[in-house]
C-alpha cells in the first residue's frame, strides 16, 4: 500500500525552517514596486510576475514532493485538494478551500481568505489593473506542469480590488501522458 497522502500541510509547515513573514511580504512588495517603475505598463508587470511565479513553481514542486510524501493523485479533484490543503499550507502557512467545480470536474476555484503576500499592501488608484498576487498563479501553473498537467490559472476575486476573498480559478487544459520507458541508459 502506498503511503497515505497527508490531508494537511500543518505538520510539514511546523517542522520546516520558517521565517518572520515580514521579510517575505516586504521583499515581494519591493519587487512589485520596482517592476512597476522599470516596466511602466501594468499589464507587463502582471505578465512578469506570472513568469517569475512559473519559474518558482518549476523548482518548488521538487521540494513539495520531497517533503509532503504525496503519491500520485487519482484525479484532478484530489490534486486541487492537495494543493489547497498541503501545498499552500506548507509554504505560506495558510490553507485554501476548493470550490466551484464545473460539471466536468476540470475547473475549480482555490479560495484564500488569508494571504501573507498582501499584509500592509494598499493599491494606489494608478494600479487598478494590477494583479498584485500574480506570482501565485505562476507558481500553481509551473508546479502542475512539472507533474504533467497543463493548466490555465486566472483571478476571479481579489481583496485588493474590494472583493471578500482571493479566488484563483484553475482550469485543467490537458494531461500530458508520461512517456515510458525512460531512456536512461542511452
Amino acid at each position: 500500500m502506498p503511503a497515505v497522502a497527508p490531508r494537511s500541510g500543518e505538520a510539514i509547515f511546523a517542522s520546516a525552517e520558517r521565517i518572520n513573514s515580514e521579510l517575505f511580504t516586504l521583499t515581494y512588495g519591493a519587487i512589485v514596486r520596482q517592476l512597476l517603475t522599470d516596466l511602466e505598463e501594468v499589464d507587463e508587470v502582471n505578465k512578469q510576475l506570472d513568469q517569475m511565479g512559473y519559474n518558482i513553481g518549476l523548482r518548488l514542486i521538487d521540494e513539495f514532493l520531497a517533503k509532503s510524501n504525496v503519491s500520485r493523485c487519482v484525479d484532478f479533484k484530489e490534486t486541487a485538494e492537495v494543493i489547497a490543503k498541503v501545498g499552500f499550507k506548507m509554504f505560506l502557512g495558510v490553507s485554501a478551500t476548493v470550490t466551484n467545480w464545473d460539471a466536468e470536474g476540470t475547473t475549480c476555484s482555490l479560495v484564500l481568505e488569508d494571504n501573507p503576500l498582501v499584509d500592509f499592501v494598499e493599491l494606489p488608484d494608478t494600479c487598478q489593473g494590477l494583479h498584485y498576487c500574480n506570482v501565485l498563479n505562476g507558481v500553481v501553473r509551473g508546479a502542475l506542469e512539472m507533474v504533467s498537467m497543463k493548466t490555465e490559472v486566472t483571478w476571479v476575486r481579489d481583496m485588493l480590488h474590494g472583493d471578500d476573498a482571493y479566488e484563483l480559478q484553475v482550469k485543467l487544459l490537458k494531461q500530458i501522458p508520461e512517456e515510458y520507458p525512460y531512456k536512461d541508459d542511452e
Partner: protein, 200 residues
C-alpha cells in the same frame, strides 16, 4: 502572534528576482541589473527598520519583550533626530545591525566586526545564509592541467554570479542604516564562499 512563512518562500523569491533582473531584463547590462537589485534591497531594509518590529519573534509569550524592543528602536531613531554625539551612535547603530537586525533576517549574528574608527566598518559573516544554498555552475576540468587563464575565468564567472546575489543584502543594510540616520555606501566581498564581508 508573529506570522511566519516557510523560509524557502523567501529563498525562491530572491533567486528568481536576481535571475529575472540579471538574466532577463538587463542581461546585457549587469551594472543596471545590480542597481535595480540593490534598490529593491534598500526598500526592504528601509521598511524593515521603519516598522520597528524587528526582533519581536518571541513576543508570543512575553509581550513586554516586544515593547522593550519597540521602545529601544524608537530611541534609536529619536536619538538621531536629537543629534547625539555622532561617533558613539554610529557604533551603536552598527552593533544593532550586527546583532538584532542580522539575527532577525539571517538567524545568526555577524561573526566579526572591524572598524578603522574613521567611518569604515567591516562586518564578516562566515556562513552567509543566502549564499550557503547557492551552487555555482562551474565545470572545472582537471585544475592541475588547465591553463592559468581559463581557470581564472571560471572563478571569475562564479564570483560574478554570486556577487549578483549580494546586491540585495547590501541594499537591505544601506536602507536600514539610512533610516537610522546614517547615509552610507555598502559593498560586499566574497573571497571564500559562503563567507561574506560587508564594507561600509
Amino acid at each position: 502572534m508573529v506570522r511566519e512563512v516557510a523560509e524557502s518562500c523567501v529563498d525562491s523569491l530572491l533567486i528568481e528576482m536576481v535571475s529575472s533582473y540579471a538574466d532577463r531584463f538587463y542581461a546585457t547590462k549587469p551594472d543596471l541589473a545590480a542597481r535595480r537589485i540593490e534598490a529593491i534591497g534598500y526598500q526592504v531594509g528601509h521598511q524593515l527598520s521603519e516598522r520597528g518590529r524587528l526582533g519581536c519573534t518571541d513576543t508570543v509569550t512575553d509581550t513586554r519583550t516586544g515593547l522593550g524592543i519597540l521602545g529601544e528602536l524608537g530611541q534609536w531613531i529619536m536619538g538621531y533626530t536629537m543629534e547625539r554625539p555622532r561617533f558613539s551612535d554610529h557604533l551603536e547603530a552598527i552593533k544593532f545591525i550586527c546583532k538584532d537586525f542580522w539575527s532577525e533576517i539571517f538567524k545568526k549574528q555577524i561573526d566579526n566586526l572591524k572598524t578603522n574608527h574613521r567611518g569604515t566598518f567591516v562586518l564578516q559573516d562566515n556562513r552567509f545564509r543566502w549564499l550557503s544554498h547557492i551552487s555555482i555552475d562551474s565545470s572545472p576540468e582537471s585544475p592541475g592541467v588547465s591553463q592559468d587563464g581559463s581557470e581564472a575565468t571560471v572563478e571569475n564567472k562564479a564570483a560574478q554570479a554570486a556577487s549578483m546575489h549580494l546586491y540585495f543584502p547590501c541594499g537591505i543594510i544601506r536602507g536600514a542604516l539610512t533610516n537610522l540616520g546614517i547615509p552610507c555606501a555598502v559593498s560586499a566581498d566574497i573571497s571564500n564562499l559562503p563567507a561574506c564581508k560587508c564594507l561600509f
